[in-house]
Symmetry: C2
Subunit: 273 residues, 2 copies
Amino acid sequence: MKIDRNAPVGVFDSGVGGLTVAREIMRNLPSEKIVYFGDTARVPYGSKSKETIIRYSRQIIRFLQGQQVKAIVVACNTASAFALEEIRNELDIPILGVIEPGARVAAQETKNKRVGVIGTVGTVGTGIHEDYLRRLDQEITVIGKACPLFVPLVEEGWLHDPVTIEVASRYLRELQEKEIDTLILGCTHYPLLRSVIRQVMGDDVRLVNPAYETALELGRLLKEENLLSAGKEQEEFPYRFYVSDLAEKFKDFANSILPYDVEMTQKIDIERF
Amino acid sequence: MKIDRNAPVGVFDSGVGGLTVAREIMRNLPSEKIVYFGDTARVPYGSKSKETIIRYSRQIIRFLQGQQVKAIVVACNTASAFALEEIRNELDIPILGVIEPGARVAAQETKNKRVGVIGTVGTVGTGIHEDYLRRLDQEITVIGKACPLFVPLVEEGWLHDPVTIEVASRYLRELQEKEIDTLILGCTHYPLLRSVIRQVMGDDVRLVNPAYETALELGRLLKEENLLSAGKEQEEFPYRFYVSDLAEKFKDFANSILPYDVEMTQKIDIERF
């Protein structure tokens, strides 16, 4: 199959969190067009089963393939952890997730070989970061901690609140006691809590944001496959956004975090795919 | 159509919360059989659109009709607020929600005619409690407050935690300032936070738990329609539980709150209905 190098990149997430990944792709690969899908009718993914997340991911990939994307970024840690290996072989276009790029940088950055990972119950439960990190360096010890209240706190907008600091102190205590020197923010919402996490963990712990690393990895992958776009100048909507619910609310949130005026947001019925 | 009075009652919710309603039906109508459905693959409902919640509710009702239920209880405040009026006319069996029974008791109980309602963003946003209460008594003032962190705090198990007390103090301050004397717990999870809410609001505020009122209302309705069951003794599984995800986890939770040993829990693909 011949893939069109000027086709858009497909990016998907359970909701708005993956916009932090889309933002890094916009910044670092400005010639690339993007079709984004946020599964706002079924969000969150972090507390659901592997089987369900694989089914949801397959539906979304069928939708993105209908949009003629040239590559797919799974911009959701839970879907990357549960579904990526399953679906990779079903596709004839490149696909990448957010776990591996984050793990690779953490392995490079850690000095004391003690790496922490925070994420949803689903992501942390898989132990997938440990698998990747140990493959890169057998001496690395990984300490995972699920932080289920972080996403609701972000969605409530309590980004610098005393309650959030108290919750973070509680969740992160174990990671401090185990003296990690590197912490992977293993959920796309968590970079929005970076200042609270920094305050609790102190300046000596390196925080890894997989969104940025994933954008760089996408660039390398597209280059390798000779799929880098020649440009997006002629497109009316170089960035298109689809959701399964609440398109207007999504648009407002997207406009608050993207360096770009989001105009084209549309609701689709994802269960039909 | 002739309805079989010995058929089970269908009860549904976005997840586990509606079990607090099922529990009251078990206690107050011990002769009734129950088919419960929890939409654990798409939970929560409280932050999603009316249109989506109506679509989900229709799918669940189609499933319950396939189970030959004689009546349906919408044991979810958000689905009651968004979908009940829409779907009531599409059915030839009785259906009731949790909003009206709670509102009726609150109207009876309030002395100063100032009633508070707490619930999800979706439920509180509809203003449906106010509609019911004002229909019963035009002099009643209703003060609604969405409490989005309460469900995640319950699911984290922080039922008596200082963080939960702080969050509750923040959410409930406005209701205290407006001097309500009656508070409707307008989300099926909230009765599990009753002691924290009691601590913050003080002993003079009457807390209304719609689960109990709904069970009583169901009894009256079945009696009126001559649909009270003759008994459930011969049934192997008088209470059957279906979910759209994580059947085992659901079973554990159900067993922790129901006065009955939950044996029959099965996962179904609700999107196919």
